[in-house]
Amino acid sequence: MSPTTPILIRGGRLIDPAAGVDAERDILLRDGRVAAVEAPGKLKSSAKQENAEILDATGLIVAPGLVDIHVHLREPGQGHKETIATGTAAAAAGGFTSVCAMPNTVPVNDSPETTRWMQSPERGAKIRVFPIAAATRGSMGEKLTEFGSLKAAGAVGVSDDGKPILGEAIMHQALTVAARAGLPVIQHAEDTRLTGGCSMNAGARAFRLGLRGMPIEAESGLVERDIRLLGSLHGVRPHLHVAHMSTAAALEAVRKARRNGLHVTCEVAPHHFLLTEEAVGDYNTNAKMNPPLRAQSDRDAMLQGILDGVVDCIATDHAPHAAHEKEQEFERAPNGITGLETALGLTLGLLHKAHRLPIGRVVSLLSTQPAAVLALKGRGTLAVGSFADVAIFDAKKEWIFHAAGSKSKSKNTPFDGWTMLGEIRWTISEGRIAYKSETAG
């Protein structure tokens, strides 16, 4: 990488949960790293010496760049939905500086070659992309991929996301091998034997609409199965990460497993702690995703799980689809919604403003903790020496999200026209400005 101009961020309120800092601090970024963190004004002369660019963050929050450990960037193979360049541009606009890309691309990312290809500078990523590789070849659930080589190529976890790792033997094997390789196994917990032909949550709404419903047991049953496997393994300590959790029953299983000392982590997507199955309305395909929007009680459990700390982190499950793909019969339309540009605004609005969760906790859920879950070293913190990944935002500013203006190639979101709290001014990725709002000075 070519050298970058040093940047001095001054006058802001630094929130760095990993370092236990919530105070006015100036930060100097140099060579892609955090060079210094000091009391206001103390870095003025060295910044001048280095001819640093100065960003005035007065009245703004300066936080470690956000980390999304669950996105679909659609490259290789589905560039009509999204590319690594457009997906990371959307991510940068949402304050993210690291995203972890799921392997359900075309072809499936089950090889070190594809893993490297995704990280190549030629992809034009605006921020850092960490591939999550397929756990089984072609995500077919039959034969494990080469975890060691995938990790060496840059993979930060293994998953067959979009599909579960259903077979008990192969999951057992995956957990064992991943533990030795030092990779988490990320499970899309859906017992597909219970969800054939289903397109929303099982319940009164599904019955009314005449749609086959996915029972909550399809999720919780598989989480419980995986936890049982985890407990039965000896001599290794595997890490199971439950992707996009949506049911109270699965959350309970995770809570219990933690108490029993097992290494289980989980993430929840904003739509699962904000919306219920009622959002499907009259077959709104922008409210169709997998796992589906659930009942009020499950939504409340997700929110409570976040507030009381059982949920490790928020991840968007950003899943772009072209308009013509979503403009289909509900049962035929693909699952998924975009989420990178709305995650912070929705989270601050609901968790901070409505539920009075301190901003520090919000930053932790969107940056520090996800970075810790996938062990992304030097991310999710602004301690000296860590990567110069910074999100600078106005936590009080309300704005309206218009899907049409999204930087993602796709506009499939149920949050079009919603009020967001917290406006990103600058996103800095490894010392370079990856996004700058029109209002930024």
């Binding site: 319940g203 749609l211 933690r258 019969e329 049962e331 403003k353 301190p358 026209g417």
Partner: protein
């Protein structure tokens, strides 16, 4: 683990429902660009107010009694498309006959012999039909909710001829007309109390039935009680939550004893999707046979939307028996569908809606005001 470390000592609590700050700031896009739903669409029975139902019933009677040649002039040469993705005998033929009796040109497009086979989407098929001059599309589709997509893609009024497991509103309306003919002297002037004291049992494969859903949503709004009956596999408990006036009774004989109308449904083998139903057990508990009907519902009307499977949900004696209205239902279907097609093509038939005279189709004048009693209209 970071999650535990980060847990704050005092936990925020959970207010519910969603705080107002998180509601959409803007109205939904459909309302923004002014594309309100086309008048005349009937996708769900809930698209119709009780007054709409009354006006459709009155219109059905008027049209049924009208001189066929005069009736032909109402929609002469106007274009109606019948788009059928699923097989149908009754619905397709009666919609087609209905549209033709009003003078309209009809075009039938079925999935087996059209570009649908080549992969054309529902949206593009709709746009094509509109470009060919269709002013209304009658849709039957395998997928629940498909009519909403077609309506949004074309802006045309859509008449739902049955979508997946969702609804079949014209069937519910013709069922209502059949009931009224026998229980309320054929009145069209219905309101919230018209069917008070009437209990209708719908028995069989409720889970997969769009007819059951439309009837369970329509009949209670006119004062009827609806009892849903069937085994758990075909009738989940959650079905009772579909709306007010709907209850579940697993004992068919108890349900029969309480009913003035019994509506039998076919087991939809094509939608069972792995569900296993023991047919002998089913018949022993839920079949409408002579002995059972005579004992528990001697005076009840027997209805069935068809197609019937003789010897399964009902026996031949019952299907062909004196209380069976199965053929009569089909006859009412043509009248109801004439009214629905006329309504779909003449968007401003009501005086209240006649606010844009320039957009009024020429045939509007020929439609009598719906509140006019049927007899008068017949004379005129």
């Amino acid at each position: 683990m970071p999650a535990r470390k980060a847990a704050a000592p005092s936990q925020p609590t959970l207010p519910s429902p969603l705080p107002p700050t998180l509601q959409p700031a803007l109205p939904k896009p459909a309302e923004v660009d002014g594309s309100v739903r086309p008048r005349g669409s009937v996708i769900s029975v809930l698209d119709l107010s009780t007054a709409d139902v009354a006006s459709i019933l009155a219109q059905a009677t008027r049209l049924e009694n009208e001189d066929p040649l005069a009736r032909m002039k109402r929609l002469l040469k106007r274009r109606v498309a019948l788009l059928f993705y699923e097989s149908s005998t009754r619905t397709r033929t009666s919609f087609e006959l209905a549209a033709k009796s009003l003078g309209a040109d009809t075009a039938l497009i079925s999935s087996q012999s059209s570009s649908i086979e080549k992969g054309e989407s529902l949206k593009d098929t709709g746009i094509t039909l509109k470009a060919l001059g269709a002013e209304c599309i009658i849709l039957r589709h395998l997928s629940s909710g498909a009519p909403y997509l077609l309506e949004a893609s074309t802006g045309l009024p859509i008449l739902n001829g049955g979508d997946g497991m969702h609804e079949h509103p014209s069937q519910a309306l013709l069922d209502l007309r059949t009931m009224l003919a026998h229980l309320r002297d054929g009145t069209a002037e219905v309101d919230e109390t018209t069917l008070q004291g009437v209990t209708v049992t719908i028995c069989g494969d409720i889970l997969h039935s769009r007819v059951a859903r439309s009837n369970a949503l329509l009949l209670p709004r006119l004062g009827a009680q609806v009892i849903l009956c069937g085994p758990t596999a075909l009738l989940p408990e959650i079905a009772a939550q579909i709306g007010p006036g709907v209850t579940i009774e697993r004992d068919f004989e108890k349900a029969l004893a309480a009913s003035q109308v019994v509506m039998m449904l076919r087991i939809q083998a094509e939608r069972l999707s792995g569900l296993h139903v023991d047919l002998e057990e089913y018949k022993s508990r839920y079949q409408a046979n002579s002995a059972r009907m005579d004992k528990f519902a001697a005076n009840a009307l027997l209805m069935h939307p068809g197609p019937i499977i003789r010897g399964l949900e009902l026996t031949s004696e019952v299907a062909d028996g004196p209380r069976s209205l199965i053929a009569e239902q089909v006859r009412h279907g043509v009248a109801i569908r004439m009214a629905l097609v006329a309504r779909a093509l003449d968007r401003f038939e009501d005086k209240d809606h006649a606010t844009k005279p320039t957009e009024k189709p020429a045939t509007t004048d020929q439609l009598a005001h719906p509140k006019t009693p049927a007899k008068k209209a017949r004379r005129g």
